[in-house]
Amino acid sequence: MFKWLEKNLPKIVMAPAVGLIGWFVYGFVLWTLYISFTNSKILPKYELWGVGQYVKLWASRKWLISVDNLLIFTALFLIFCIVIGIILAIFLDQKIRAEGVLRTIYLYPMALSFIVTGTAWKWILNPTLGIQKMFIDWGFENFTFDWLVNREMAIYTIVIAGVWQSAGFVMALFLAGLRSVEDEIVKAAKIDGAGLFTVYWKILLPMMRPVFFTSFVILVHISIKSYDLIVALTQGGPGISTTMPALFMTQAAFHKSQVGLSAASAMMMFMAVAAVIIPYLYSELRRENAR
């Protein structure tokens, strides 16, 4: 008995982690998957109902708006975060004075919650006392900036706040990537007569492919899960103009008693994340095994 215990001790120690994740992650996802095939309303029902919830979901105007918003947000969020992140990383890589201070400033938003970020930006962007008033008081009398309360533009306020929160993080990833390149490579290129621009554009940035990939995956992941920022900034409004899948899911589940429909929307989100993550994990593992 004691011998057996001693031999299997490592596995026993690991059991809680495996058990908890097995139950709370895999078990729960399967449960949600099952419920998405039932006609559950306020409480879960267990008779199968087919794909009705998915049909309902993709016929719902609110869901389609959510998906549209998600696509707009993800595209802009990705582009701005990566472009700003790369510019800041390359510029900071030029032996800048006070680099530490600048880096700290670029990255501190990552330490804040999206609720804090959303609260701050909501105040800054509010049309009566925020940025709009600032410009009017400065003498630009016809200046209007009412994106926060404008159906067409409100989604872009979420982009502004989201980029503010996450661009510094991309900067940190790229700076770490640039710093890990051997000096010799850059020196050799310069001896061959390459200018600084060429060195970055033709040599260093192409070497950063894994960093691009990582940033892409993390940013897409953040955007699919965006929830807090929208709740704090617009609550999905004006109307439903800034709703997104994560918001759709929680509202259907906890406010509208559409448990089956919310499970279906959660599974769509799950599949979207899986489509990005599985290739990523696969390539990461291959890289690790090759090492």
């Binding site: 001693e6 001790l9 490592p10 596995k11 120690v13 982690a17 495996v18 908890l20 994740i21 709370f24 992650v25 729960f28 996802v29 949600t32 419920i35 879960p44 800041l88 510029f91 032996k95 800048i96 600048l102 700290t104 400033i105 670029y106 990255l107 938003p109 990552m110 330490a111 804040l112 919650s113 999206f114 609720i115 804090v116 609260t119 701050a120 105040w123 800054i124 006392l129 925020g130 008033k133 600032m134 008081d137 400065w138 503010w164 993080f169 990833l173 995956v217 992941h221 965006s226 807090d228 704090a232 609550q235 929680t250 589940a253 959660a266 989100m269 799950f270 994340v273 993550i277 593992l285």
Partner: protein
Amino acid sequence: MQDNLQSSSYKELEQKSKYTNMFLRWFLYFVLILFASYFIFPLYVMVVTSLKTMEEIRQGTLLTWPSSLNFDSWLVAWGGRGYGAGDTFLRPYFWNSIKMVVPAVFFSTFIGAMTGYVLTKWRFKGDQWVFLFLLFGCFIPFQAILLPMARTLGTLGISNSVVGLVLVHTVYGIPFTTLFFRNYYISVPTELVKAARIDGAGFFKIFFKILLPISAPIIVVTVIWQFTQIWNDFLFGSTFSFGEAAPIQVALNNMVLSSTSVKEYNVDMASAIIAGIPTLIVYVLAGKYFIRGLTSGAVKG
């Protein structure tokens, strides 16, 4: 030293004329400072707004400096106005968050350390699959587990309680803490462990005598990561708790959204700063570890 760095960077640009270099240099600093202002602007606005009276806020602009350092809004945000019902303030929720964060960080870090230790130093057939199995938990969108989690907490009788949130944050922290410790321990030479085993040291002795003493950096990274994630969480907090058991982010959101009477932006901003200050302090004091955690584990939204 500084001058040396400066001159060598000029050499790097040697093909261009001196004036172009000067111009480029200025341009570089201009862009960097421009972005720094974009990043610092909201923090500046939050701080000055929280120090103004509502009258000053209506008269000035976002950038106007407050006429005096007036911490009234901070006191209201923290302790309320003392008129009883309907008076919401952050103090009790701040403590809720502390009571939630401390045990959740401790348990998830401990479990992650143990699991990472087994996965690297007591390897067995198929251990990479176990790692992958756990790792996938980092990526799932939590919407896919919200419904069953709400039911489970109800069944266990711990919904709408700090205990429930501790459980939730511990469980969903395990994939990250395991990832951190596994990646750290894998670089510790296995020979050390093998030698200790030959000397007759057991499973726990090896962990406490050999690995734990060299684990300080990764423990700091993990604790900071978990602390920031759990302190800043809103999804779990708002789904599984309400009223008096809510953590601070939920309370902040409720305070800001409550549509009672006149909007007091100064109190809102003071509240936001109070909710953000613990993680900001950690970031300023231990930025290096914060960033290390971020770059090796930032997959959670």
